[in-house]
Amino acid sequence: MSERQEKSARRQRWTLNGQALDRLLLAFDADREAAAQKYEALRRKLIDLFAWERSESPEDLADETLNRLARRVSEGTGIPNLDRYAFGIARLLLQEEARSLRARTAALRDLPLVTGTTPDSGMLKRIRRCLAALPAENRELLARYYSEDREQLARAQGISMNALRNRVLRLRQRLYDCVMRGSDL
């Protein structure tokens, strides 16, 4: 077995266990709850990174990044900045994925341009439920932002266009978190 194959086999043999996860959480923060939040924040950041790099399965790659990070931590590697280190691992994974995609000769451009999404009626119901939980003035602001002249709306609200945009997008993000992650508004 070549050194490269051995390294690859060792990598595949390693799996995340409770102890390694504990060490990783501890590396994030001594407070368990704060550590869990930081872990989740990093995971979301990784998902965004992989999604914006056109990965086919951003969640899987984010989890693989965290597994590799946990392994380094459990092996005692000194990591002063977990985010920066995770970014380095993610970049490597992106390179691996790019190599693997190049190896697959199936032309991706032959795939349909848009493979479609299925916003089931359940999602619409969840959005409506989350919208209903918003204060009435916020609901009205969202509805008006997406249907009226935005400059006029900003003037009517007595704020700049940029402030209006930020306010609406923050509301939208809260709604998104409520719908997709079940978080409270």
Binding site: L49, W52, D83, T117, T118, P119, L124, Y146, L169, Q173
Partner: protein, 254 residues
């Protein structure tokens, strides 16, 4: 300082790769840019869901932002978000890619030989539209109504269509300037992000002056089976050589 244009350029892969890699590291390891990127992405997907993006931007969203289920879930949210906010929407005119465009919609009730009849009826329908006789029943179970160019690119809420009883085909006439003409077109109808119908090899024609034609304009008739249309929002795309030429959102109402 990273501005919004740069964020969009990052998301749509419109900046040099080296610069993009630097920005990736900057947002990933910094405190604020991720939220700004998420906001820029949300605006792009909202614009996509509402048919407000320019063709090139729309194409890039499809190419760079809809490649994984994760991303398609975000679009599903944007589509549902659009529908959830739909009732209070009021019409707002938008441009349609800067092209002079007009859409005529016709419903055909006769189920037989509709295909053979289409050319024969077309000039008559265009004449009727040009004469402003919209929404008037015509002999033979065919009638039509016209949608103004300004509304052809707007949100579905602006373009509400009520299917006539017994209608079997709906015809959408896209009118282009000469510069946008192509030998063949393809059409794709989607509902809630899913393709429900498509047709290849559609040919355009130049209407005669007597039928209200506009000089060098080209009309592309797209016939859609009415049975596919249930109540809800639809997007009809017209493409040529893989390029998105026109896009029309409408809503079928009871």
């Amino acid at each position: 300082m990273v501005d919004r244009a740069q964020l969009i350029a990052y998301l749509l892969h419109q900046m040099p790769e080296e610069e993009r890699a630097d920005l990736a590291e900057q947002w990933f390891t910094g405190p604020e840019l991720q939220e700004a990127l998420q906001a820029a992405e949300a605006e792009l997907l909202d614009g996509y869901a509402r048919g407000e993006l320019a063709p090139e931007q729309r194409r890039r969203v499809e190419e760079f932002l809809l490649g994984s289920q994760t991303q398609r879930d975000k679009l599903a949210f944007a589509l549902a978000f659009r529908d959830a906010l739909a009732p209070p929407l009021t019409a707002r005119s938008r441009r349609w890619f800067g092209m002079a465009a007009a859409v005529v919609i016709a419903a055909l009730a006769a189920s037989t030989i509709w295909y053979a009849r289409r050319a024969a009826h077309l000039s008559s329908l265009l004449e009727q539209a040009a004469a402003g006789r919209a929404s008037q029943p015509l002999p033979g179970g065919i009638y039509e109504f016209a949608v103004s160019p300004d509304s052809s690119r707007g949100a579905a809420e602006q373009n509400r269509l009520k299917l006539p009883q017994g209608a079997e085909m709906l015809r959408f006439d896209f009118t282009f300037e000469q510069a946008e003409q192509a030998p063949e077109y393809s059409a794709l109808l989607s509902h809630a992000g899913r393709t429900v119908w498509s047709e290849q090899g559609i040919r355009g024609f130049q209407p005669t002056a007597s039928s209200g034609g506009r000089g060098q304009a080209n009309v592309v008739p797209v016939w859609v089976p009415a049975k596919l249309l249930e109540n809800g929002s639809y997007d009809l795309e017209l493409r040529a050589g893989g390029r998105l030429l026109a896009y029309y959102s409408f809503r079928i109402t009871p």
